[in-house]
């Protein structure tokens, strides 16, 4: 009996490993093909599939900087992302703390209103925003991509509020008796305790901001205000006609790399903090 159980378990693990392997390969193969293509000479990509480029040619990675304003794009994306992530995290955690632990007028109504905004289709907001930005001279600047993000992020507030609800209120009461102000309670007690959840959310906001294409597409137009995603998209539509695939692949890899590195470093926080909060609709 016990033996059949172990045997069944081993078969289960093997099946599960093979399934995961098949899935993992499906996920990563397109990226490997992209990498392989980016290291080929432009005229060598039209034959039968060849995984290891012969010769390995790094020239595309040198060429992309002249082929498109990639450096400007990376710089603009970095400015937008860093500001939104740093200041926005600050705004979001403050709001999350207030919703989780403080008592103030209309708290519930304000919170429900925030959640309701998630359901509004983006297109309903983005068209009028475009008109307003046109009026106040924000079009074709980075401001529409930065300013709303500085004020916080509803998903992050929701998530962190859940997380903070799980932290004992006694901590706060004790600090109050010691005469700590509310800002200090937030800053030196709750922020440090929420580190894993904040880390997970920072990645999500970083990704969303760095990868955003819709905002830059609608609100900016000139090359000097393009973010990296716009640069890649226009590079693609320009060079795809000339079928210079290796060049486009190289540029895309440069655009994807920052997020991949950041995620690989911080991925362990993901599951941990998701599990802690639980998911409730």
């Amino acid at each position: 009996m016990a033996r059949t159980n172990t045997a069944a378990r081993r078969t289960g693990t093997t099946v599960s490993f093979l399934l995961m392997l098949a899935g993992g390969v499906t996920m990563v193969l397109p990226f490997l093909w992209m990498l392989s293509t980016s290291l080929k000479q432009s005229n060598l990509v039209f034959g039968p599939p060849e995984w290891i480029p012969d010769p390995v040619d790094w020239a595309n990675y040198a060429e992309i900087w002249d082929a498109a304003p990639l450096a400007t794009g990376l710089l603009n994306s970095a400015i937008v992302t860093v500001l939104v992530v740093v200041v926005g995290t600050f705004s979001s955690t403050m709001a999350a703390f207030a919703f989780a632990k403080l008592d103030f007028p209309h708290k519930r109504a304000i919170f429900v209103a925030l959640l309701a905004t998630i359901m509004i289709p983006l297109v309903v907001l983005i068209l009028p925003q475009f008109l307003v930005y046109a009026q106040i001279g924000w079009l074709d600047t980075l401001l529409p991509l930065i300013v709303p993000g500085l004020l916080g992020n509803v998903t992050m507030i929701f998530f962190l509020r859940q997380y903070m609800l799980g932290i004992a209120t006694e901590l706060m009461e004790a600090a109050k008796i010691d005469g700590a102000g509310f800002f200090r309670i937030y800053w030196s007690i709750f922020l440090p305790l929420c580190k894993p959840a904040i880390a997970a959310n920072v990645i999500i906001v970083f990704m969303a901001t760095w990868n955003d294409y819709l905002g830059p597409l609608i609100f900016t137009s000139s090359p000097e205000n393009s973010t990296v995603q716009l640069v890649i998209a226009s590079l693609n539509s320009y060079y795809a006609e000339q079928t210079d695939f290796p060049l486009i692949m190289a540029a895309s890899i440069v655009a994807v790399l920052p997020v991949v590195i950041l995620f690989t470093i911080t991925q362990k926080y993901f599951v941990e903090s998701f599990a802690f909060t639980g998911i409730k609709g």
Binding site: P30, L125, L151, Y213, N236
Partner: protein
């Protein structure tokens, strides 16, 4: 003494209110300025024939609404929008499958987790760039591999019958990783005692999956379905990047694409706003219906 304590508590309470309101001021401002004000503008503008270039507008009642409702392109877009719901059951299925694999401690699951996440963390722009190359009719890897086993692959990007499917495959591939993370988190929250009790009663693994795991996952599945539907109905960026003109015969255009095109390509702002409002109401309705139906199948805990 008592009055002093009361006074202290009162001033404490006043300070708490002050800080509470102060802390939610930034997000409150964001909602008012970038959400409520725009909605107000959209609702008013939907009833006008606003021309941005000339800067003129008249109120024309419900004309915009009649216009898109009788536009055959709108209905093509509506059909395509519904088509974009197809990925949801697929990525839910694979997401649950891989979450279970990861949860039971399959060897290498840390590495797999990173691999599964790669598509999700990459930008749509990069993915479309990659997809256009992979699915290139003549030289793409996919059709070359298919040719290897004797199948003539379709024109994934150019054929109106295939372009939506190409987009759907990409979305499924992209969403499996994040779905499995959500499901994995929910799996970790199922108390082990349920399984122990079931094992004592001699329940088979399959029975345990359907009687314990699946019901306990239902809140997570519900959440992912709601978010998935709201997101899928708004598919736009993929269409714009893959086709730039909505595809041959408008074969890939979605409602958001239709609205975008009306606003930014043909300058019919009033029409775009009216369509957007209508669309928002549809999404709201769909979401409310789902919450209604959820009572029947979502486990809410004791």
């Amino acid at each position: 003494m008592t009055t002093m304590t009361t006074r202290r508590t009162q001033s404490m309470r006043r300070r708490e209110r002050f800080w509470g309101l102060l802390f939610v001021t930034p997000i409150g401002l964001q909602v008012v300025l970038f959400c409520i004000v725009p909605i107000g503008i959209a609702v008013v503008a939907g009833f006008t024939n606003w021309n941005v270039i000339k800067g003129t507008y008249d109120f024309i009642g419900l004309d915009n609404f009649f216009e898109f409702l009788t536009d055959k392109y709108f209905w093509t877009a509506a059909g395509n929008t519904v088509f974009m719901l197809i990925p949801i059951p697929f990525y839910l299925f694979f997401g649950i499958l891989f979450a279970i694999g990861s949860h039971r401690g399959t060897p290498g699951n840390q590495v797999f987790r990173i691999l599964f996440f790669l598509p999700y963390i990459s930008s749509v722009v990069a993915l479309v760039v990659m997809w256009k190359w992979l699915f290139n009719y003549q030289y793409g890897l996919v059709n070359q591999l298919l040719a290897g086993i004797g199948i003539q692959g379709p024109d994934w990007l150019g054929d109106p019958a295939w372009i939506k499917t190409t987009i759907v495959i990409m979305i499924i591939w992209k969403m499996i990783g994040i779905t499995s993370i959500y499901v994995l988190a929910a799996l970790k929250n199922i108390p082990e005692v349920y399984y122990e009790a079931a094992r004592l009663d001699g329940a088979s693994p399959i029975r345990m999956f359907f009687q314990i795991t699946l019901p306990m996952l239902s809140p997570a599945i519900f959440f992912l379905t709601i978010v998935g539907i709201i997101g899928s109905l708004q598919t736009f960026v993929e269409v714009q990047l893959f086709t730039s003109d909505g595809g041959r015969n408008y074969s890939a255009a979605t409602i958001t694409y239709y609205i975008w095109q009306k606003a930014f390509v043909s300058n019919e702002l009033g029409l775009a706003f009216a369509t957007a409002i209508f669309f928002a109401l549809v999404i709201l309705g769909v979401t409310l219906i789902q919450f209604r139906m959820s009572r029947r199948w979502v486990y809410e805990g004791e």
